[in-house]
Subunit: 204 residues, 2 copies
DNA sequence: GTCTATAGCATGATAGAC
DNA sequence: GTCTATCATGCTATAGAC
C-alpha cells in the first residue's frame, strides 16, 4: 500500500489501475470508484493515479474500452454449429446469458458504465462504438452460419440480427432483475421458436 | 431560493423535492443528484431536505416508487384493440418505445435509478416489485385481449408475456443507444411477426 | 415547521520533495 | 517516475436560532 514501488512502464500501471477500477465497481458499484479507492485497491499510492491518467474520465474510458472488447470477444468465442435454426438461436442467446450469469456483478457494473457513457458526451462515442460493432459481429456471425447451412432469411440479415440482439439484451436484463434461471430458459426457448420462423431452408 | 417559504404540508414538500430530483437527474444524470442540487432546484433552502427525508436514500426510494408507478400507468393507458395478433403486438411494443422516445433523458435517468436499485440492498425490493408488477400487468392485459378476440397461445400466457417484455426492453434499449427510429420500427415489425406465430386462432 | 450555519468528512487534482 | 502532503471544493447530515 505504502511500500515504495519498483519501476514499471506506464502501460503496466494503467492496466493495473483498470483492473482495480473494475474490481471496485464490481464489488461496490460505480459511485464507489474514486481515485483513492482505485489506487488503494491496486496497492498504489494515491498520487500514482494522475501520472497514469489525466483525469477520472480517462480511466472510465480505458475501463469501458477494454471491457467491452473483452465481453464481445467472450460472447463470440463460443462456437455453436448446430444445423437446426431453433437450436442455433437458443444457443446464441444462452451463450450471452451465461456470460452474465457467471459474473452478475461485473455485468451489472458494465451496464452502469454504459449508462454513464450514454449520457457523458466525452464517452458517447464509446456507447455508439459498442452498439455498432456488436451488431456488426452478430450480423457477420449469422451470415456465415446461414450460408454454411443453406439457410436464408425472409428479411435482411442486419434486421434479423438486430432483433436477436434486442431479445438477447431483454432476456439478460430480466434475469438481472429476477435471477430466475427457469424463466430465462423458457423465454429463450420461446423466443427462439418464434424467431426461427423468420428463416427458410434453401431448396438447393 | 432564499426567500422565506410559506407553510406547506410535509407531503407537498416531499412531492416538490421528488419533482426537483427527477428534473436534476434528467438533466444532469444520477450523480448530479445531491441534496443541495435538489433543494436548489425546488427553490428551497438546503435545510429543507432533512425534515422531508431522513436521508438521500429515502429520496431515491420516493422517486423510484413514484416514477415506476407513473411509467407503468402510462404504458397501460394506451388502449390497443386491434383484432390482428401482429398488429396488437406491434402496437404494444411501440407504445412502450414511444414513452421512452418522448422523454429519452428521463428514461435514461430511470434506468440509472433502476441500476442503483439492483445493487443497493435497501432498494432491492423496489427493483423486484417493478419487475413483478410489470409482468403481472402485461399478463393480465394479454389475457384479457386474447379471450376477447378468441386467441389462444401455444404456451402459458405468463411465459409469452415475459418474452414480450424482454423484446420490448431490448428494442427500447437499442434505441437508447442508436436513436435510430427506422431500425427500431423494423425490429418491432420483425419481432411482432415472429411472436405472432406463438398464437393460434380459436376454432370457436 | 423553517431556515442558517457549520461540523465532519471525502473528493479530484496538484505542487513539489526525492 | 514515484510518492507525500495539501489545497480547494463539495458532500451529507445536524445543531440550534427563529
Amino acid at each position: 500500500m505504502t511500500t515504495p514501488q519498483e519501476h514499471r512502464s506506464v502501460e503496466e500501471r494503467r492496466e493495473q489501475l483498470v483492473d482495480a477500477a473494475l474490481a471496485v465497481m464490481t464489488d461496490d458499484g460505480l459511485p464507489a470508484v474514486t481515485t483513492r479507492a482505485v489506487t488503494a485497491r491496486a496497492g498504489l499510492p494515491h498520487g500514482a493515479f494522475h501520472y497514469c491518467f489525466g483525469s477520472k474520465g480517462d480511466l472510465f474510458r480505458a475501463v469501458l474500452e477494454r471491457e467491452l472488447r473483452r465481453s464481445m470477444a467472450a460472447a463470440f468465442a463460443v462456437e455453436i454449429d448446430s444445423p437446426a435454426v431453433t437450436a442455433k438461436i437458443t444457443a446464441g442467446i444462452r451463450a450471452n446469458l451465461d456470460l452474465v450469469r457467471a459474473r452478475p456483478d461485473a455485468a451489472l457494473a458494465l451496464t452502469e458504465l454504459i449508462s454513464l457513457a450514454r449520457r457523458d458526451p466525452a464517452l458517447h462515442d464509446l456507447a455508439r462504438w459498442e452498439h455498432d460493432s456488436y451488431l456488426h459481429e452478430v450480423t457477420a456471425n449469422v451470415e456465415a452460419w446461414s450460408s454454411a447451412h443453406g439457410i436464408s432469411w425472409r428479411r435482411p440479415v442486419v434486421q434479423v440480427s438486430r432483433v436477436f440482439i434486442a431479445v438477447s439484451e431483454g432476456v439478460t436484463s430480466s434475469w438481472l432483475s429476477d435471477r430466475d434461471d427457469q424463466a430465462a430458459e423458457q423465454s429463450i426457448a420461446l423466443a427462439a421458436e418464434a424467431l426461427a420462423t423468420l428463416a427458410e431452408e434453401d431448396a438447393a
